[in-house]
């Protein structure tokens, strides 16, 4: 999934091979991650797809089933992975993930600590941010979940950048061997304030901590715990509003005259001057956009703090 291996790098000539991870795209909210296996088939509502038909085609190709239905095969990215991974826990989505990485000032070469690993949605993006020389040490107290996360990181090709440990960070803190070595620490724990003293020990001076909590009471306690040895404590909520785009006609309800709210730019050459625009486009369709009716209303609060530099 990451481009660190040059033989797997995306290019016009990079074709799908046996053993590749592909994201099968039906539509924007229906996708699936599949490992290509020459002898295998994919069966869905569009029919039966033979993997052997996929091999040798470029990523991004449209492929057909026995019934003429089609899907697209995409190269995996952390953003797509977040949409297809198995939810073993509640996961972080792209708005929070993007903001966390930016605000934690993670760049190639950083050492990052994370707990809990959960389903590995954020971990995958952390790995992308620290590549090629940095490393993510992620901990979960749930042995089976840690094992599944390890399998996922193998699958997505980030395992060389991520080490999954089984450990109760709230109870035991981070392992002493990372003391003073972490550039950034990310906590997604039910009682993050219990892990904050340990996180402070792990961070380099001026290093940044982020705690993700769905409830404001957790934020309240975390901030109280942060005040003694952290500074620049800030709490945010970040969400995405998505838009639908339609082609439609706008009638103004007065006979056959209608009003368009600006025409698409590719129609520009048709106009001779400003005045003729209104008349000319009376019957031409317009592109309309509006926010989608439903959206995620809350994910969690993100609290950031910087270790005091003494």
């Amino acid at each position: 999934m990451l481009l660190t291996d040059s033989t797997k790098k995306l290019s016009f000539t990079r074709c799908i091979r046996d053993g590749d991870l592909v994201i099968v795209y039906e539509k924007h909210d229906t996708m699936k991650a599949i490992r290509v296996c020459e002898t295998s088939v994919l069966q869905n509502r569009f029919g039966v797809f033979k993997h052997s038909d996929w091999i040798g085609k470029p990523f991004g190709s449209k492929v057909f089933s026995n019934k003429g239905g089609f899907v697209y095969l995409l190269a995996a990215t952390p953003a797509l992975w977040t949409l297809v991974l198995n939810h073993r826990t509640q996961i972080l989505y792209i708005a929070d993930i993007s903001f966390v990485i930016m605000y934690l000032e993670i760049v190639p070469g950083c050492l990052v600590l994370e707990s809990g690993t959960g389903s590995g949605s954020l971990t995958t993006s952390l790995a992308r941010a620290v590549a090629p020389t940095g490393h993510v040490y992620t901990f979960d107290f749930h042995e089976q979940r840690a094992a599944s996360a390890r399998e996922d990181f193998e699958r997505t090709g980030v395992s060389s950048l991520v080490t999954v440990g089984v450990r109760d960070i709230q109870g035991e803190g981070f392992p002493d061997e990372y003391t003073g070595l972490a550039d950034s620490v990310f906590l997604d724990l039910p009682q993050p304030w219990l892990a904050i003293p340990s996180a402070g020990k792990m961070l380099k001076r001026d290093g940044i901590l982020c705690s993700f909590s769905p409830c404001i009471e957790q934020v309240q306690s975390s901030c109280a715990a942060l005040r003694s040895s952290f500074t620049d404590i800030r709490t945010f909520e970040v969400l995405l509003r998505t838009y639908e785009v339609h082609e439609g006609k706008m009638d103004c309800g007065q006979g056959d005259e209608s009003v368009s709210f600006g025409s698409p730019p590719y129609k520009r050459r048709q106009r001779s001057n400003e005045e003729s625009k209104m008349q000319e486009n009376t019957s031409s369709p317009v592109i309309l956009a509006r926010p989608c009716g439903e959206s995620r209303g809350h994910t969690g609060y993100l609290t950031f703090a910087r270790l005091k530099s003494l």
Binding site: L3, I101, T133, V238
Partner: protein, 446 residues
Amino acid sequence: MSQNNLQSDSLQNPRVTWEGCSVLLDINDGDRLVFARLTSGSTLKIGNKKFSLRPLIGCPFGSLFQTKNGKEGPCLSRFIPSTEGNNAEEKGDCEIINESRDNRAIIDNNKAQSLTGEDIDAMRRQGAKGDEIVEALIANSATFEKKTLFSQEKYRLKKQKKYAPRVLLRRPFTRSICEAYFKKYPARIGFLRVDALSLLLSMTNVTAKSDILVVDMVGGLLTGAVAERLGGTGYVCNTYLGGTPQSMDIVRMFNFNNDICKRIVRAPLNDLRLAQSGTSKQIGTHEDAPDMESNGLTSSINMEEVSKSSEHKVTDLDPDANVSPTSKMSKAPKAGESASQEALKLWGENGFSSLIIAAPDLDPWSLVKDLLPLVSYSAPFAIYHQYLQPLANCMHNLQLGKMAIGLQISEPWLREYQVLPSRTHPCMQMSAFGGYILSGTRICSS
């Protein structure tokens, strides 16, 4: 920590300033933000006094400084805040819940303070420290004791900012640079808010060893942000229409080493298209030579110009950091050379790993229809715009042309909170708009 760790640390991600390093100075908790380059001659103006920035060289990022009257005039000195709680949040955790004071006894008649301006000036002449003046103001305020603990703290902070200003030394990272510009001069970065910028980078899978094609008409902020994530590998190729590349002055605010600067290149769109069609004979060279000069080699002069010209207009983000003419500005490595022939050829054959457009004044569709063919199949792209309609049209055209899938227009929403014991709520002021992003994945239409 082992020597090795320190070594790689200082190369990759320095945490201590050095001579010639670019820094962001946060004066009084975000009230004022100034970019400066630390040289022995550079100064910072606070109030009507000039302070040398020399004491900041060799200090860890995150250090706080306070103004002081030294033997040779005013200077900045390291300030270590006491760890015992002297602010309301710590002392008042339990009291606040039972706070009974309110503002019924506070009358706004300007008589609460018995110290006059002359008194304060006299204290200053006698060498009183800023903190001492703040304490004196509190002692002479008739209403201070009547205020709630929370508003006492607010009063103290207000006076401290005026009489004992503090300067925080911050690392110029994408986060702080974007925030600083967004706060002071959002138009210069096309109103690109930090959360929108972060989304652009993750939606387009920017990571080490990738080749990212960008159209950066946001002053170089986007180019810098991508280069920061590449860490001296891959390339960020800033393309432009016509003969003149866009300015990318903001790139110089980052502390990029030579390895990173070398990975920031420019190429006119025509050259990229020629390279792809295989007729890469006489690409480059013609109109690029003068551009290179004006953008790379003379960056030091630009920096000086910025600070000089800005003395007149206080509006500049870098208003006070006067750089002395003798300083070794030539040390600032150059970024934005013309892309090499080999690189052009390689991109022509392989395509870019992804595409990001942040061109607030251009029509996205007319750009993307020419740029999308330059990125690999299955490559993600993202287009930022301040206005929704051009993106909606662009999305529609991409759908009609069957050029991309997974198309989505999104608008980030960001809200900050005040978190205090018993007084947690969203901040009273927020940015209501951070721009729109159209994202998608290129498909192979053959």
